[in-house]
Symmetry: C2
Subunit: 676 residues, 2 copies
């Protein structure tokens, strides 16, 4: 394994085949809609809707007013007019009248411009779900999670959590396959929402929407500091919308002054729009067809809401590069088994930071390392192991020029296509005798001479997960004993617990076409869970997630090793939950010392600024773990390899101080392993 290709964590476009072929609720509610602007890239405005609570106008009238007048992108409106019924009546004995006829709007408008509302009474849900399916609506707004419900003979005494009645009702009728449910919750009720979602088996078509009263949303006094935790924990959920109640329009003349968003709304809208939430203005009952003065006010408010931009943390090159890949899971590469494509090399070579760091490390080594000091060594022999299309060769030559050192470079590469490119480069760039290109596997041919430095870029997102330790152990015979050294000199693997409904449900459905041919995202936790999908480490730009703590170090490796034996490792790290939350998995990162003071890292706490060659890995769990504030969460992980099967894999299990322990994941590499 002496010449694997350039590293690794694939950045191929997210439209690769596995994404197209599997059904995904992540596209709902509005990705398929013509009227709704894409939020993926270049987004300049938030998507805004308006919620009407009464039915005193036809859908046609509403849509005309909506698009031509108020200027919302879509409307949320009741589907059924409720015949008042005794409080103890059940679904089956109640009567209702459809409030909407399907001829009132085109099929496309129903699909694109209308979210159905069943918000008035839980008992409406079965009928509303049927109507929603009939009209191909993309979303159905449910009653508020904590609204009083009427039909339980024995009321659920708990008011801090969801009611069993609510849960049983939404699971009791089939959710239309093209639709999803919006569950309105208060901002402070993360736990109730999370418990409910968990009890649905993390149903992939049930989403939270955050409801803010006018008092919460608007306030000219920007006094109160916002509890950052409240916003942070919603970052881990797939919040589809913020429903903001409009202030009352007081009687009077002239235009109504625009209110200022409260600090809570300001913080929340930034964070939620960033993860794809839309903004909905809820107007008072009986304001379906508002007077001109109110309409003007709502229109102005919607215009204000459009300006709520995602808080992307700066629009640098890294950010715009990564945006299309947010939360897109990618199966880890098998760099030793496969040849990378030219486009992949090109993507990696575009990184503005990585090769600068390598150059700086080489400069520092050539300048100050006593083992190759100028008075001892005239020509420094450098092996570039896995030279690819040559970026590390160029970095070496540049460092030699800066330090005015003589070097002799051996570029070792097993991919014949990349060797071809290297030979072209040697001619074009005039590498001459300084660079020797060695094609093929070093282990078979033997080196022409021993070297002073091995330079390699074999790290995976998790550090050792693409067999860098094994490869460098194998390559260290290239070095002069006691003199030679490696760049990188050492590296380590790090992990941090996170809460992400998005990543959990995406991972669960990842290998959906495999084996059983059964959908993994039906929201049913029992039946046939795709174990393989929940035991694989994914490369992913972690975005719609609440990373709960700083990362902790698991494994570390130094090169060269005095006596290469075994790179198996056991590690155990403990984190403390900062607040009540749910651990759905872990983010995995690496830190690396290239040489001396030159570090390279994708650990969030020390991330090399602007570097985008690696996304983190997502380490999933079979089942999310609910934990309380202060509870300790221990991740135990082993890195194992088997010589006879030439495999490298990780196993892991998580325990909490509250007494939960997961099964050991990926036993014996049964679900995911890297070939050696």
């Amino acid at each position: 394994c002496s010449s694997p290709p350039t590293s690794t964590s694939s950045l191929l476009p997210p439209s690769s085949s596995y994404l197209d072929s599997r059904p995904s609720f992540s596209h709902f509610p509005f990705c398929s809609s013509l009227l709704f602007r894409s939020i993926v890239l270049g987004m300049s405005e938030a998507i805004c809707g308006i919620e009407y609570q009464s039915v005193d106008a036809t859908t046609e009238e509403i849509l005309r007013a909506l698009i031509d007048g108020v200027g919302a992108d879509y409307v949320v409106t009741p589907l059924l007019a409720w015949q008042d019924a005794p409080a103890n009546a059940t679904c089956s004995t109640l009567t209702y009248a459809p409030a909407r006829a399907d001829g009132e709007a085109s099929a496309q408008d129903w699909h694109s411009c209308v979210v159905g509302s069943a918000a008035r009474d839980l008992r409406l849900y079965p009928a509303a779900a049927a109507t929603s399916a009939h009209l191909s609506l993309t979303a159905l707004l449910m009653p508020d999670l904590h609204q009083a419900h009427g039909f339980a003979t024995t009321a659920d005494p708990s008011n801090t959590s969801f009611s069993l009645e609510y849960l049983s009702t939404i699971l009791g009728s089939p959710i239309p396959s093209s639709s999803c449910l919006w569950i309105p919750v208060q901002v402070s009720q993360w736990r109730a929402w999370s418990d409910l979602h968990c009890a649905t088996g993390w149903h992939a078509a049930i989403f939270p929407v955050l409801r803010l009263s006018a008092a919460q949303a608007w306030g000219n006094d920007a006094q109160g500091a916002v509890d950052e935790k409240i916003v942070r924990r919603w970052r881990g959920e797939q919040v589809k919308a913020i429903l903001v109640e409009a202030p009352r329009v007081k009687k009077g003349k002239g235009s109504v002054p625009l209110p200022t968003p409260s600090p809570l709304l300001a913080a929340l809208s930034k964070a939620m729009v960033a993860i794809g939430a839309q903004c909905v203005l809820t107007v008072p009952p009986k304001a379906t067809m508002p007077g001109a003065r109110a309409a003007e006010f709502y229109s102005a408010l919607l215009a204000e809401m459009r300006t709520w931009r995602p808080d992307t943390g700066g629009a640098d090159a890294k950010e715009s590069f990564e945006a299309p890949y947010h939360d897109v899971l990618q199966s880890p590469l098998q760099p030793l088994a496969d040849h990378l494509e030219s486009a992949t090399y090109q993507v990696f070579e575009q990184d503005p930071v990585k090769y600068r760091l390598y150059r700086e490390a080489l400069v520092e080594a050539l300048d100050v390392d006593k083992r190759i000091a100028r008075d001892k060594v005239d020509t420094v022999v450098v092996y570039v192991v896995g030279a690819g299309r040559g970026p590390l060769v160029r970095a070496t030559l540049a460092a030699a020029a800066v330090t005015k050192r003589n070097v002799r470079v051996y570029a070792v590469e097993k991919n014949p296509n990349a060797v071809h490119t290297l030979r072209h480069a040697a001619v074009r760039d005039g590498w001459g005798d300084v660079v020797t290109i060695l094609a093929g596997d070093m282990r078979a041919t033997g080196p022409p001479e021993r070297g002073h430095i091995i330079v390699s870029e074999l790290l995976g997102s998790f550090g050792c997960n693409e067999a860098s330790p094994e490869c460098l152990d194998g390559a260290q015979d290239l070095l002069l004993p006691d003199v030679g050294f490696s760049i990188p000199a050492s590296y380590s693997s790090w992990a941090a617990p996170l809460c992400s409904s998005k990543l959990y449900t995406e991972a669960r459905s990842f290998y959906i076409d495999d084996a059983l041919g059964v959908a993994g995202n039906t929201g049913e936790s029992g039946g046939r869970s795709p174990r393989r999908a929940l035991e694989t480490m994914y490369v992913v730009s972690i975005w719609n997630a609440d990373v709960l703590t700083d990362a902790a170090e698991l494994f570390s490796f130094d090169h060269p090793t005095p006596q290469p034996t075994n790179n198996d490792r056991f590690a155990s790290v403990t984190f403390e939950a900062p607040y009540d939350t749910t651990v759905t998995g872990f983010g995995g990162y690496f830190e690396c010392v290239l040489y001396g003071s030159v570090h390279m890292s994708i650990n969030p706490a020390s991330h090399s600024p602007g570097m985008f060659s690696w996304f983190p890995v997502y380490i999933p769990l079979h089942t999310p773990l609910g934990v309380a504030a202060g509870e300790r969460v221990t991740l135990r992980m082993t890195r194992r390899s088997a010589a006879h099967t030439r495999k490298l894999w990780y196993e892991w299990t998580v325990s909490t101080s509250g007494g939960q322990t997961t099964a050991l994941h990926n036993v014996g590499g049964r679900s995911h392993a890297v070939g050696l």
Copy 2:
């Protein structure tokens, strides 16, 4: 549904077909062995083994000494002689020599009289497992869970829990299909064991054995009180053996005095032998062939250990009736759909308590009820609804005789076979005109007259779970308005959380032949868990279980109801964990007021003494919930019915104050429902 047969919770023999047809590790290790006495019934002695820790005699010599000399039932002995190896060597680089040749004993003796030991070093496990499979051993003793293990490069820093190395090792090699693993743990280390077992996915072939040092086991001072919790929590595990270290034999002459078991050993042995644990005497290394004096001492100790009897809590009729049914899950009956067999009626009629309670209730009613006072009513009209073979008719006639009241009894029965028996009884016992037998469904024919009392025995183990509310609502038209009443007058459903590894693993494999045809008890939690099996309420004599708290009331029903409407119910009850434990499910019970002061109950806190007609129900969970001492566990349950599908079912979900919430079980009755 006016004439369902006699109640219900089936007591058919446990050898019914589903048990025979499914593989079950519960038979291991020794049920199939000729040498080992059955512990099921009439057990008079504990089963005892002896553990040798060295290999200085052949198996043949050991077995001869064992059976002819010391008097143990089986021997625990090392399988492999270890070639000492460097501490950092891995399994694959170590060498060992087989300590035993298979010709040293017969195949039957290997299978019946030898437990293999891999206790000396974890690295021996893969080789020992292979040897164990070759010799068809039924069990393999593993290294102590907390023994120091040598081969991790990075040691697991946690010493309060299992090491990942241990876990990964036992799951890394296949467990021979006919065998099981014994994991020795300290009595105080329940949590470490439970975490380990959970991390194996509750593997059905991995069991704990409890290891007691000589200091813990023997003490002439019976001073220390035993912490009851320590013993109680092992009651929820499938403890296969207690390994008791023998005291050292001091030099001297004459027989060695027998030590007294410590209070801990005394309490533990009673509780563990009751759930099937065996007793193993561990003798010092190099005592494989002890001198005559030591052999005599060990022999005497083993004779003492044989007398450790199960603590059955009294050998009354109920106890001896129930013993064969301990932990045998039975699918609930469908009493409305099926006709009971005569043998089933006979089993229920043997209950010495149940019909006495009914008679006492009828006596009290006939004596004191003002609605049917002697000065108002001359002849009391009694409807026995679901008369079966007539026990409630007899109870009514007996109560009339005691109170000297005139009665006219209508015995309503839908099962034509039982009607036949009733007609014979009428002739044989001279019921004459007093009793009228009404065959068939009351709803079709209409009653000859209105009655004063309806007597019924329609309760299931969970009270309302065999449709008693629906049946009695339908039957109450038989009663005179404002005058008539029902025996039972009311009843309620109760539940208590429990920890039971046995019931969880049994339930998980219950529907093993169904649907997927895949074994559910492979210990793998991910793949294809038999959801249906873990959403069904089972009738079972709960035995190898730690019932954690008193039961709490969920649903209640009164009869007759003023205006029968809907028997759907929602309930939520909260329990507090008494210590760190794992909730694997709930026990379900009923309480009932027959009439006035006459109560009938299977709730453990108020169980009618000596009554055995009902076993509790076991309400399982998809996944056990680990909880800490003091944590609150909330069970939310709904009783629902659907008129159009004529089904009755329960749904449930459990939340903990620590933040765990299970999926909603049995949504819409998908896995288990009772026909109406």
